[in-house]
């Protein structure tokens, strides 16, 4: 795990992992970091090469109140998960 304090990003590189580890991993991290995501405006960033996870992660976390942005990097994808409603405290 790599926490970048200035941007408040929690980065996980889980490229190459077995299915459906990517989705389960994302769900677990979202639950664990609930407070940071919802109250501190943090974001979880997941690096993955699993094409299926690009479809399943946004779908799954969307129902939990999170928004995702997907960006293609050099040969892999970066999914950023943030709380949908931004708090301004």
């Amino acid at each position: 795990m790599d926490t970048t304090p200035e941007a408040n990003l929690i980065v996980h590189d889980i490229r190459g992992q077995i299915c459906p580890s990517t989705l389960l991993f994302a769900l677990r991290e979202v639950n664990r970091e609930q407070q940071a995501l919802k109250e501190k405006g943090a974001a979880i960033v997941i690096l993955t090469d699993n094409r299926n996870a690009i479809a399943t992660i946004p779908e799954a976390v969307s129902s939990m109140g999170y928004a995702t942005t997907v960006e293609k990097k050099d040969g892999y994808y970066q999914i950023e998960i943030r709380a949908r409603k931004k708090r301004t405290n």
Binding site: G16, Q17, D49, R51, K72, D74
Partner: protein, 376 residues
Amino acid sequence: MIKPGILFLITLNLSLGITAGFIMHRADFCVAGMFRDLFLFRRTTMLRSLLLLVVCSIILFDAARQLGIIRLYPFPLLASPALTNIAGGMIFGIGMVLAGGCVVGVLYKMGSGNLLAATAFAGLIIGSGIYAELHPWWVALARKTAFLPGKITLPQALGIDPSTILLPLIIIPCILFFRWVLQGQWPAQAQVEGYVQPWRAAIYLSILGALSYILVGMPFGVTTAYAKMAAYLALPFAPEHVAGLAFFQAVSLKYTAPISALPLQGGAGPVMDAIAVIQFPLIAGIVLGAFFSALLLREFHLYHRVPGRQYASALLGGIVLALGSRMTPGCNIWHLFGGLPILAMQSLLFLAGIFPGAWIGSILLSRFVLPSRQVI
């Protein structure tokens, strides 16, 4: 010199494989995942595409049969049912979830550079070799639990024309498909480059399956070739032992090829026969197709820094998967894309086994492989 008919089969299977591998990689059309996600996430999006594939294949296969384009009905390698088909399906279901893909899924994932899939592939060859030792015992069990001798498909067992039962059977799925269209449930939202919608992939794959049935004489099958690879690999170390195993002596395929009318035969033994001519190019094609697809998207990368238990799961899953595929016999692609659309009883029993198998596999996977704090 290679006969033109043989060359035709090699080229054809290679082309079909490349096309299928490309499509499967683009859509991430993972059949193992479809069953697993039903139990792990209650997600049925991908299973719907599988149902669409089966229904499309029913229509295409039966149309081809009625037009007389398909002569071999039911197709070769299918046999009358036995309770061992369910047991094999169950073992197969457990294996595919642990391996992270089925016997074909492993191929397209391996082609895109996935090292876990390559590990599962090694497991598949090892498992096929292990089965060769168990074969006499398993065959005896299969004989004891066999029923309806001489009958391969359900319409044969019922003594009716296939269309009489197939047409009413597809009405309910077709109504469901239409409902899902109205509810907008078909398109999967995936911001992934070069994505092929799974429902489209299902239609394309059913067309490829029908082409294989018409031109090769049977739908996609790859599992006997895994056993053949195991035989070839074991041959230099224990030539006499390999030659003495009943499994490697058996000739399971014996038929007249369409188009060329060549009489062909083959089995799992270490010889270049019809199984080698049909299945090796298909396997190579699927791996190559996925490789091209990943290369074009610049997504071909090898990531080896994966938790050790995932490698263990892939290897063990591959071995179990191979055992299941030999015990059934046949794989999910063979049975679900090929046998189910003609209501082969072996395939129906395999389907009955794969659900509880995938359920057990999902429990094992989430208990032993996934939950740890596997942060690299």
